[in-house]
Symmetry: C2
Subunit: 211 residues, 2 copies
DNA sequence: TTTTTTTTGTTGCAACCGCAACAAAAAAAT
DNA sequence: ATTTTTTTGTTGCGGTTGCAACAAAAAAAA
């Protein structure tokens, strides 16, 4: 539990106290189960302790479409969903454990002298980090060509690791999804970059070549 | 000031008190002026009261590149920027008025009985709304073809307005930038959609045709 | 009102990219 | 250790899209 972002820098005593004070409930869900429905009218908040859940939209034909995915540490719930006026639900996309609480409880909890400030800071940190992740991805997605998307992404990794040689944090298949391009077209472009002497790539290790 | 998201549902008395308590400073900047530099080490926070500012990265060649843009109501600062290890600055991209405060002050302010909870809720709301905007844009950007990007965006507007006929909230030029596609290619695709009887478009009014 | 700037609309062309389909390699599961 | 699943690597083809370049319309500024 201490490895969950929202509980960063809090002792297990604090966490226990938080769970009691905020009247949290911990529940597990099998893949495919509905965790929340009718999201819009709900003040309920969920925190992903384990697994992966999806925010899905149900249109008037009853078709499900994935709106976003929440991973370990992420916070979700009515107050954290968008302003559209259709039905939203949360379903478990993997076997998941969820910690439930209430938005108002969470806000009120901030008044606690021992852990209130830290909890609040953690929640903000969580949201800000999500914003930054999205921001990074948008920066990459707005590049026009696959080559530019790849190079932009590689440059970000270069800065993150402070090295011109780094490991990709995902499979090439996942990378093509992240970049929203066709995998085979991406593979072709990687080959071109290699042939043009701009990068080296062996497995997941990428090296940028400056000359 | 009451129309700024972070001050939603607060009286002008509250706002005055907040500004005093959090030791805020209000400053104006001409276009091009540097608002913050050396962002990373700073606990300083800015709120855009008027205008528009840019978060820019300065690489080792001294080249500026835009990382993100903050509009009226947005919060920016070191604690709200990413985890890369390069120099970041905030510059005014238009004539702007900024309210400055300190991250720790803001967190501490939450303890105030009168406006603490509301202020906290507003800050969260602000962050969550940004996440949702980004989320929406990513949903659109990850569509593979210009046609699919347009239709996805139109469907979002359809839901937002609860109508198959709506006004575009921006110029076509701006839309092409939002979708990260070439403007003329987008224009061509709009024509195709019209010819295929899928949409009507006159100026900024778009109507989706279901048959 | 006139001038200037921005936006819209259009087209040819070449490069780019998605798609389909497959084989080999690697990883995960049994 | 063997089977199954996932990932990687490759290619031809045709549709899509970025680019350049321009004219007309609309909006904003003078």
């Amino acid at each position: 539990m201490e490895n969950i972002g929202i509980f960063y820098n809090l002792t297990s005593n604090d966490i226990e106290d938080i769970i009691k004070t905020l009247k949290c409930r911990k529940l597990s869900f099998k893949k495919g189960m509905t965790i929340m429905s009718n999201l819009k009218r709900s003040n309920e908040i969920g925190i992903v302790l384990d697994g992966e859940v999806s925010l899905v939209r149900i249109d008037f034909y009853g078709t499900l479409s994935n709106v976003s995915t929440y991973y370990i540490g992420d916070i979700f719930g009515g107050k954290f969903s968008d302003d559209s006026n259709e039905e939203l639900s949360i379903i478990a996309s993997k076997q998941s454990t969820i910690l439930f609480t209430d938005y108002n409880q969470l806000i009120k909890g901030q008044l606690n002298k021992t852990w209130g400030e830290q909890l609040n800071e953690n929640i903000m940190e969580q949201l800000v980090s999500k914003i930054n992740n999205y921001n990074t991805r948008i920066e990459v997605l707005t590049k026009k060509t696959i080559r530019d998307k790849l190079l932009e992404y590689f440059h970000i990794l270069e800065k993150r690791t402070s090295s011109t040689s780094f490991m990709l944090p995902m499979t090439l298949t996942a990378l093509s999804e992240y970049l929203a391009v066709d995998r085979s077209a991406m593979q072709r472009e990687l080959k071109n970059l290699k042939q043009d002497g701009i990068i080296e790539i062996n497995g997941k290790r990428v090296t940028l070549i400056y000359r």
